[in-house]
């Protein structure tokens, strides 16, 4: 059997294997969510069975799902997602712009790494939300303060992951590249960036998770848009079905963003193994 025939056979095997994995994944996805919703429904059912706590019924899955439809028709979901998404996007973009070069510096300069280790570890361990009072004083608008909090929250995972990625790069790759006539820009774009892509994307995935968690409480104060604000508003107007609808949307978007990161990591990673 020649190599082409072997490749066809291997590809056929891979297609059937992929379908099997997809089917298993879809079953787990639907099954897992069904269990979650069932537990949620049962919990709310028993809580609201007591007439004194009947208003808890609005927290249930069915009113929440119905409220998503109403909120969508009112344009509430779209406007909240747009506002939060813009803040998150800007915050992450700034964090990547600062974090990746900072990580490259940490990974490539021993002196800088040793000097920066203590202050960076100290800063990393400060809860991002504890910067909020300072951010409110320093920045002119609430929006700027929230973006600052998101940058602070997501900067460290990106910088440390980039540095860790760079430390794993085989120095022989640089020697080989130089030997084949690579210029510094080639070394950066064709060796360093692809070599550390997995670690940088993993750092961005972690950063996204932290930033998404910080975003909602950060929007509880000051601003009049976004998912955090919408939850706060629903609580104050006693619209618990809307509140739960927003909680569901936050979870769903977070899951979607994380899945996108996993897809990108798989797409651009060269390391073999589970993400």
């Amino acid at each position: 059997m020649n190599q082409s025939a072997v490749n066809v056979e291997v590809n056929n095997y891979r297609v059937s294997d992929s379908l099997k994995y997809f089917g298993k994944g879809a079953t787990n996805f639907v099954g897992g969510l069904a269990i979650l919703f069932a537990l949620w429904w049962i919990g709310i059912y028993f809580m609201s069975a007591d007439p004194a706590r009947q208003h808890f019924a609005d927290f249930g899955p069915i009113p929440a799902i119905k409220a998503i439809g109403y909120a969508w028709e009112d344009g509430l979901v779209q406007s909240a997602v747009m506002s939060s998404g813009a803040r998150l996007g800007l915050g992450l973009l700034l964090a990547i712009s600062i974090g990746v070069p900072l990580g490259i510096l940490m990974g490539s300069s021993k002196k800088f790494r040793e000097l920066s280790n203590a202050p960076f570890q100290l800063l990393r361990m400060i809860s991002p939300l504890s910067w909020e009072p300072i951010a409110v004083i320093v920045f002119v608008t609430w929006d700027q303060a929230i973006v600052f909090l998101l940058v602070i929250a997501s900067l460290w995972p990106i910088a440390f992951a980039t540095a860790a990625g760079l430390s794993k790069v085989d120095p022989a790759w640089f020697k080989v590249a130089r030997n084949l006539g690579a210029k510094p820009r080639h070394i950066l774009t064709q060796i360093i960036i692809p070599a550390i892509a997995f670690d940088v994307l993993t750092g961005i995935r972690l950063a996204l998770g932290v930033a998404w968690i910080v975003l909602v409480p950060a929007e509880f104060l000051g601003v009049d848009s976004g998912l955090g604000y919408t939850i706060q508003d629903a609580r104050e107007t006693l619209q618990y079905d809307y509140l739960m609808a927003m909680v569901l949307i936050i979870g769903a978007i977070g899951y979607l963003l994380d899945s996108t990161c996993v897809f990108l990591i798989k797409r651009y990673s060269w390391t073999r193994g589970e993400v």
């Binding site: 190599q3 020697k175 590249a177 030997n179 060796i191």
Partner: protein
């Protein structure tokens, strides 16, 4: 492809890594004609690999010079390419991309790169693996990709730093045969460092025996054997014995004062 070798002139080459470190080797003088294959043999630490790195332009010598066709080597160039002990392929790339990376650095058009890469993969018998990820290949296949990556640059001189030492005996033998025949067919110079005396006999036009600390070229032996070379051939066996004796003598001089006799095991003999 029209590849021609270069005239190599190594003049009074001396090297130490730092001002306070001992000399790695001193006063190395070698000349070689275009297309000639030199194999440098010697014990670990005598400066063979350092010499090769200086020839490749990856290191600067402390004093002396390396001239290729009367031009002093002052840095790396696609005219002289080095193959290392490990293939050091870029694992995020396919075979084809790995082989063509040097041409890409030189801004070659895509179509030309493709043609050259196909040709180079043909030379190393990996045409069918062009679109595989390099991580899916065996160690021997990966070393063949590294060879193709060097050949695609149409080098005038190919430098080999113990490139087959990590391979199994069968793969090593087949690569030794292929590399020498490709070098002879295309006419470029080979300069190879090895611990393996069998490998030196099979691949060299001249074997340079390096010994001492700091290292020196102790012997320059012409390996005048017809191609293809078979390790079972009597002439090959005789040359091997001669080279082994020379290696022992050089090692004996090196260890003068420490030991009166060099044992058979002191010389690393290939097991292929």
């Amino acid at each position: 492809m029209s590849i021609r070798g270069v005239r190599i002139e190594i003049e009074d080459l001396t090297h130490r890594y730092t001002a306070r470190s001992p000399l790695t080797f001193e006063r190395v003088n070698v000349e070689a004609d275009p297309g000639e294959s030199l194999v440098i043999i010697g014990r670990s630490g005598c400066g063979k690999s350092t010499l090769l790195h200086i020839l490749a332009g990856l290191l600067s010598p402390t004093s002396g010079s390396v001239k290729l066709d009367d031009k002093v080597v002052e840095g790396t160039s696609s005219r002289w390419v080095m193959m290392f002990q490990a293939p050091h392929l870029f694992p995020w790339m396919k075979v084809r991309q790995n082989v063509g990376i040097g041409l890409q650095f030189a801004n070659w058009p895509e179509k030309k790169i493709r043609e050259r890469v196909d040709y180079a993969l043909g030379l190393v018998h990996l045409e069918d693996y062009a679109d595989n990820n390099v991580q899916d290949l065996s160690g021997g296949q990966q070393q063949r990709v590294a060879l193709a990556r060097s050949l695609v640059m149409e080098p005038e001189m190919l430098l080999l730093d113990e490139p087959f030492s990590a391979l199994d005996a069968f793969t090593r033998a087949s690569l030794q045969r292929d590399v020498r025949s490709i070098a002879k067919e295309l006419g470029f110079n080979l300069v190879m460092v090895t611990h393996d005396i069998d490998e030196a006999v099979l691949m060299a036009d001249r074997a340079l025996v390096m010994a001492g600390s700091p290292g020196k070229i102790m012997h320059d032996i012409r390996v005048d054997l017809p191609d293809p070379r078979d390790r079972e051939d009597q002439a090959v066996q005789a040359m091997r014995a001669q080279l082994m004796k020379t290696f022992h003598d050089a090692a004996h001089i090196q260890s003068n004062g420490l030991s009166t006799e060099v044992t058979e095991t002191a010389a690393v003999v290939g097991n292929t």
